[in-house]
């Protein structure tokens, strides 16, 4: 019975691992549902915000806000949203690859990059890479509040206001469906309005109370925050989905491994019995 005991303990340890991965899969599945609800709940705000900003882009205000003016870029800011925990497949790695590709492109254009990271994974990665990290924000939990993000966004907006950076981008995973998460890098500042809705093309403007600058400041700051918040909740939904899929794959792999080992174990047992029998038979024949 050589090795039978070893095989048995190995099977047992794999079974324990499988139990853990299965539990993690189920936890991720239920968390994903909640994260998706949260993602949907915050969507109306982001959409309304978009329409209001699009309206504003089409009005003809006497005052042009700096967030709406394209200027020559020397330095760009990048907000990266990652997860706090691992074991979620290639989710973070894919995002970092995408972000890194963009950074490389900017470097080729002689643009410096400032990073604002959200999530411990991004911090670890870009620190090792030697990126210029100006702000770090992590452990926001599964249900982040918008006030958790104010700091991270404000650092970037202040730098933009002061003319230190001339463009701001956001990198996060977009939730397509449970199996697919798309890493994206999109421009936040200056605001790029889409020209789809041509309804109100004639010359008009809002009445601003108290003044155009104050109102636009408040609106655009909230607009950027809502985009980052939307990115964050979407990234959390992505994290849970990716973890669920990764843990399901791990459980399945553990299952096949157990099956294979069980086969080896049975064969070893069979061989030992056969050997013992033949020993007895040949012993009897010799007598």
């Amino acid at each position: 019975m050589a090795g039978a005991k070893e095989i048995r303990t190995q099977i047992k340890s794999i079974k324990n691992t499988q139990k853990i991965t299965k539990a993690m899969e189920m936890v991720a599945a239920s968390k994903m549902r909640k994260a998706q609800d949260r993602m949907r709940a915050s969507r109306p705000y982001a959409e309304k915000m978009k329409t209001v900003v699009a309206h504003m882009g089409k009005s003809h205000p006497e005052y042009k806000h700096p967030y709406l003016i394209e200027r020559e870029a020397k330095r760009v800011g990048l907000i990266i949203i990652s997860t706090d925990r691992g074991l979620c497949g290639g989710l973070n790695v894919n995002l970092f690859k995408k972000a890194f590709a963009s950074m490389k492109q900017w470097r080729e254009q002689q643009l410096e990059v400032d990073l604002a990271v959200i999530g411990t994974k991004a911090m670890g990665f870009f620190k090792r890479l030697g990126g210029n990290v100006v702000s770090e924000n992590s452990r926001l939990g599964d249900a982040p509040k918008i006030e958790d993000l104010i700091g991270s966004v404000k650092v970037m907006l202040d730098a933009y206001d002061a003319g230190e950076i001339d463009r701001v981008y956001l990198a996060n995973n977009v939730f397509v469906n449970t199996m697919t998460q798309a890493p994206t890098v999109e421009q936040l500042l200056p605001v790029v309005g889409d020209e789809t809705d041509k309804e109100i093309a004639h010359h008009w403007d809002y009445i601003y109370e108290p003044g155009a600058k104050e109102v636009m400041d408040g609106l655009l700051m909230r607009y950027i925050e809502s985009l980052v918040y939307q990115g964050l909740v979407e990234n959390i939904a992505c994290e849970q989905a990716a973890r669920m899929v990764a843990m399901k794959a791990a459980s399945d792999n553990a299952g096949t491994l157990i099956d294979e080992l069980q086969l080896v174990y049975n064969k070893a047992r069979q061989a030992a019995i056969t050997q013992e029998l033949s020993e007895i038979v040949s012993g009897a024949a010799a007598v």
Binding site: Y45, K48, M123
Partner: protein
């Protein structure tokens, strides 16, 4: 039929109200405004207070907002309500906090840095091991 105006009240974390109304009142920064259908376009900040929505044949509905932005188009009123308490010093403090955390994380080479590095090395080593094992399996066959 009386004229109506579409009202949307949303906050960053949820949709609060969506529907048509005859009249809407909101606590704008320069004083409360009453909005009837075909109001001229207006954009203003809100201060903490009540948004009241009057729907014909129904009781008036009240919504508390702690601030936000109000947009008026002739047929649409949008209230973008804040959920967060906002003040300039609070925002500044939050910004400072994340900056400090970044500095600390970069300075703190011992904990996370070694962990991330070790993790990368481990991944590399296990990939190499995997490749070697596969090569050995092939040569054995």
């Amino acid at each position: 039929m009386a004229m109506t105006i579409h009202v949307d009240i949303v906050s960053a974390e949820a949709e609060i109200f969506s529907g048509t109304a005859n009249m809407v009142f909101a606590p704008a920064e320069m004083g409360e405004v009453g909005i009837a259908p075909r109001h001229t376009p207006l954009l203003t900040r809100l201060k903490p207070g009540e948004v009241r929505v009057q729907v014909e044949g129904q009781e008036e509905q009240y919504f508390y907002v702690s601030g936000g932005i109000l947009e008026i188009q002739p047929h649409v009123v949008t209230v973008l309500a804040d959920t967060a308490l906002r003040a300039k010093d609070l925002d500044e403090a939050a910004a400072l906090r994340v900056k400090e955390r970044a500095e600390r994380a970069i300075a703190d080479k011992a904990s996370d840095f070694d962990y991330a590095k070790a993790q990368a090395e481990l991944a590399e080593a296990s990939a190499q091991l995997h490749a070697i094992r596969r090569m050995r399996d092939k040569s054995r066959r």
